[in-house]
Amino acid sequence: MQEEKSAYYLGLDIGSTTAKAILMRDGEIVYRKYQRHYSQVRQTALEILSEMRGQFDPEHLRVMISGSAGMGMAESADLPFIQEVFATSEMVRRAAPDTGVVIELGGEDAKVIFFDGGVDERMNGSCAGGTGAFIDQMAVLLDLSVDEMDEAALRAQRIYPIASRCGVFAKTDIQPLLNQGASKEDIALSIYQAVVNQTITGLIQGRRIRGKVMFLGGPLYYCKGLRKRFCETLGLDEANAVFPKYALYSVAIGAALTAEKQGAELSLSMLCERLSKSAAAAGIGRNRLDPLFENEEDYENFRARHEKATVRTEPIEHYRGPAWLGIDCGSTTTKLVLIGREKQILHTYYSSNRGNPVEIVREQLMKLRTLCGGRIEICGCAVTGYGEDLIRNAFRADEGLVETIAHYTAAKYFRPDVDFILDIGGQDIKCFSIRSGAIDSIMLNEACSSGCGSFIETFARSMGYEVAEFAKKGIFAKAPVNLGTRCTVFMNSSVKQSQKDGASVEDISAGLSVSVVKNALYKVIRANSPKDLGENIVVQGGTFYNDAVLRAFEKELGTEVIRPAIAGLMGAYGAALHAMRFPKSTLLTKEELESFRHTSRSATCGGCENHCRLTVNLFSDGSRYISGNRCEKALGLRKTEELPNLYEFKRNELSKLSPVPGKRGKIGLPMALGTYELAPLWHALFTRLGFETVFSRFSDRSVYEKGQFSIPSDTVCYPAKIMHGHIEELLSQGIRTIFYPSLSYNVDEKAGDNHFNCPIVAYYSEVLHANIDSLSEVRFLYPYLNINNRRVFAKNLFDALSPTEPDLRLSDVRAAVKAGYEAYEAHMKRIREAGERAISWARENGKRILILAGRPYHIDPEICHGIDKLCTSLGFVTVSEDSVAHLEPPQKVRVLNQWTYHARLYRSARYAAEHKDTELVQLVSFGCGIDAITTDEIRSILEDSGKYYTQIKIDEITNLGAVRIRLRSLLGALEERGDQAL
């Protein structure tokens, strides 16, 4: 009887996006089901079960639940639960015991399990995308189905570097690529490579892959291109890469197998009953917000109020005379507005880019030319937005203008005294305040917090809704969920949590709207109260068409704002208004448009060490447009005059430190983190002692990739991560002695309360020692030194060296330390002098000065991604923080000023504040905890003196599109204000 009773085992795996069921009997699978659940967790489970009941209706069943969304369900229905990674290992142990490693990608989780040499199970951390949901999002972005994207990837030619940290980062890389005309095939493949890289850095983390590798989970089951990328990157052949047929069901099988022993025993009908009962019991969780609208009437009043902000429209068929066209080629959408003599709107267009903005604009221009006929002459055309350069070149538009100026021009039309504009677009949040007719401060979101419009859209689609329908659902939500203010990846898991608590789609939709608003207010604008923003606030951008977002914004601020009826077209409308100064346009004619052809190919620029990956767009008239370049060299327009660039100067100085052969052999130092500051010291010191001092070369992407396998923490800053690659570089050169000292304290410049290094610069040697295997085969020296006490410094260094250099004398080390200090001081003096020279040159030649303020290691070409060159190409004389800090006395700030590098930032900010011709742009590495403190201080130093504060967050991201917009906005604002000052 006992055997009969336990004959059926059921495993239910409810993941973040799909539900899987496996019914087993006598070790055989008799029923399987795989279904997307669109967040209707319980309902989907019940559907599957009732379908199952059609075929099997066992009286005696043992059941086990698994999966991240199954956790809550199991709890409330009082059913046993097994953690999904554990279930997978269970399955592998039974079904394929010869497996060495399992790589499983799920909807929102990525897991790696090592069986060989001690079982080790790893899951992705909280800041890591690169999973099924990420691939889905990317497919939406490319306007392809996941299958189509996979097919495209198989035809690809090349791989672009795409940041693999998380979905948001990758998107910032992909969208500009699309706008620049890179092929979808290549992008698809690059996305897969990003997923692979993410898995390697986030999960494999230096552990060696041995034996057979089994690939599990939906994405790896469906995406052939992804499988191929994994096999090639990990160097697997057919014999040791296993793609089982049951890849989708591994967790469910594991759950079913454990159900045999530990499952709850009941009949299938009882199981269904229990599940439906628990659904009824799930009440409203505690973390909820107030509804957006009290009632229907409240909503109607709100609508009526906003409907007042409109522009007159006139049917294009009735109009005759001159017209002006504005094109806003944004990151996800393309917008066109045609206006007539009285600024009235004749024609508008708004659509998703579908990955190919050029084709869309061509189609629309054709249509427009037809509509205009002989009656209307387009006298001017201005382009703005991400794709500005491409579209302007492709269609010979009359001018391109930076987005901020376009938006301000449009907002002024609705509210001449506007003093604050907030624009939430597909991918950006932009906001700027206006003081006495000029743009006063500009804030743009960081790559990391861009949970904006496209986020709601992809989220809506992933839950099976169109965005408009999804937004509408949020309006009358009774209890919006509180999802916090974080980036997309975090929001995904917040939503998961609220689903677990039984939140409805309505509540989630409203909650997302509130989050978008809070994100903008508290992360981007950093406001405490509406007073901080202004009195006359105009909101715009496609996202504000969503009434729930608009309402959430007003509620959060406690004030009423203006949303123009053309909120999504403001960029294009502003561009059109701006174009009204043209009497005649060079825009392509109807005939030219008909014969218009556009192809793109990729190339690599050899102009300098940046080796920019270029996309070359060829147009039918033989003209071409090149994008992806950081400077103007690629365009063949070698600048006649090179502006002073202290970043370049510092790199040149460091390049001069060449190895001098000596009796003690080679000593290698990684050119990363603190070495950028102290290289001259170490070089002189070790050369004096008879070591041949070798520095690793400046980084490029390949250096990073060489070392990414051993990075233990995926949220540490990029300059630290790149350190691993430098060590690998030195090792691959056969260097047997490697030196990177540990320095709690930095050089005391007497400029603050203390002179620490940050924890990462100070102690990263420990991480290298503990995580890079091959370092144990060489002599890795990382002594703890007190750099401000030469005697102790010499003694400690002597202690570190003498075990292997028995003939070394303490007096030698003392002399070498002295030589080291002299070299360091001379080096710093040269930098300061070069800074002063650059400044006086700029003043003589009437150029603007820009302090690109970061840390010494930000001059690394891979870390700053050539931003210094971009600055000089925009006409700024570019100096570094350490070349001007000495021009101002130590600063009193409102925080503890206790880090040497950061004290320089405050001093150079003061310099910018004191000088009319000098601006400061702060470079901040993603993950730099200390800059969370410095940025606010530097902002207030600058803004108290009426200066703009611009911050650029840098990470793995290589595309400079967003940076260019930021710098051009700064320049645009300066010029506008300058004009008015005269």
């Binding site: 989780d109 898991s493 405490n528 540990s742 924890p759 969370a932």
Partner: protein, 413 residues
């Protein structure tokens, strides 16, 4: 601190209420009891709820560490609650120094107060380094002495409580015992008399006896160690009630005590002198004496646990100090520094093979001494399971719990 600050004057001592945020409920209640005897009106903030983090985010840069967001959020929520007259309140914040950005909490709090319109509220940095002058708030030797015993009492109770919780026949017994003793010891320490060591020993003995008397089931649960950044390690507000969750899943939680952190701070001063000749000789000698004294007190208590009960005793800090050899240098002293690595090793050495390493999202020192060391620990001790959990206003409980469940599933196998 270069900025001007509102000092806490002698006059304020009379009418003002001092607010202190909670990190460790038992420890802090006792510290407060001691301070109250010196005439301060004090209140421990034990509030919770999502509005704390939200308020914090509004006034602190969002990339600042989570503990700062919470503590500052808690203060401002309290000021805005209407329970207190903001003009009759001062805030007390415990502060460590050093190269970690956490040494900036006081500045960040003052900045946040200014933004929120409470710039007149005095902030007292309660630090053993004593950076600022507050005429109305002075720590004296007898005070510190009392607080030290308060910490040792609380460490003892926390240690025994954790060993009872999963096994109680009558759930809540251990908690009731803690509450009763906290109350009683608080009264005793707050009586204002000099602490007599005889009395202390008697209390220790009775506490141990009381916990031994709790009726318990077979003690066979999986032990899970909790280490990490000090605030999220200890504070239920910071770690989403981590201990309660682990216990609800049938685990016994092992959390190293607060005395170890004090010893770590003192020990770092000794090392600074030994390695780099930083800090004065006087400071060095003082720290060495303090270190021996505190180690001795802790070890005596530990021996008492061994001899009078079946409970596990405290590990000896002098042994803990030696464990980092081959892993991490003891000059790594920002944040929790080498102590974090040492605590993981101390746990594995005492047979606790499952460890949760907690940190605020993006915690800088933990990149080195937490996450940076895990691979090496696992390599040398393959039977050890470590999971790193990030805490943050955006990190969700479901994600955290899923990872904890994985740890537990492996442990309970």
């Amino acid at each position: 601190m270069t900025d001007d600050y509102i000092s806490f004057t002698k006059e304020m001592k009379k009418g003002y209420t001092l607010l202190i945020p909670t990190m460790l409920p038992m420890h802090f209640r006792m510290i407060i009891s001691v301070l109250k005897t010196y005439g301060y009106k004090m209140e421990l903030l034990e509030t919770s709820g999502p509005e704390i983090a939200e308020t914090g985010l509004r006034y602190v840069h969002n990339d600042t560490c989570y503990p700062a967001v919470l503590v500052i959020g808690q203060f401002i929520t309290a000021l805005e609650s209407g329970h207190y007259d903001p003009h009759k309140v001062a805030l007390v914040l415990f502060q460590t120094g050093g190269g970690c950005r956490a040494s900036n909490y006081i500045s960040l709090l003052r900045k946040a107060l200014r933004r929120a319109g409470y710039e007149y509220v005095p902030v007292i940095a309660f630090s053993f380094a004593g950076i600022e002058k507050h005429p109305g708030f002075k720590t004296t030797i007898p005070q510190l002495h009392g607080m030290l015993y308060g910490i040792l009492y609380a460490d003892l109770m926390m240690w025994l409580y954790n060993q009872c919780r999963p096994y109680e026949t009558h759930p809540g017994d251990a908690q009731r015992l803690c509450d009763r003793w906290t109350e009683r010891l608080g009264r005793e320490l707050g009586a204002g008399r000099a602490v007599s060591y005889r009395k202390v020993k008697k209390n220790y003995r009775r506490i141990i006896a009381d916990f031994s008397a709790i009726e318990m089931k077979r003690r066979d649960a999986v032990k899970v160690g909790v280490v990490g950044e000090i605030f999220v390690k200890y504070s239920p507000l910071g770690n989403n009630h981590l201990e309660d969750f682990l216990i609800s899943q049938g685990a016994e939680v092992v959390v190293p005590g607060l005395a170890d952190f004090l010893l770590y701070c003192v020990y770092n001063n000794i090392l600074d002198r030994r390695l780099f000749r930083r800090k004065s000789l006087f400071n060095y000698i003082l720290c060495r004496i303090g270190f021996s004294l505190l180690c001795g007190k802790k070890n005596k208590l530990s021996r008492m646990i061994s001899s009078e009960s079946d409970f596990e005793p405290f590990p000896d800090f002098r042994d803990t100090v030696t464990l980092t050899e081959g892993y991490i240098h003891q000059e790594v002293k920002m944040g929790e520094g080498w102590l974090l690595t040492a605590e993981m090793l101390e746990l594995t050495h005492s047979g606790v093979k499952n460890i949760v390493c907690t940190q605020p999202f993006g915690c800088l020192p933990n990149h080195v001494c937490g996450k940076g060391m895990m691979r090496l620990i696992k390599e040398k001790q393959p039977d050890v399971n470590i999971v790193a959990i990030d805490y943050d206003s955006g990190a969700t409980q479901v994600n955290q719990q899923n990872r904890l469940r994985l740890l537990l599933a492996n442990a309970q196998q």
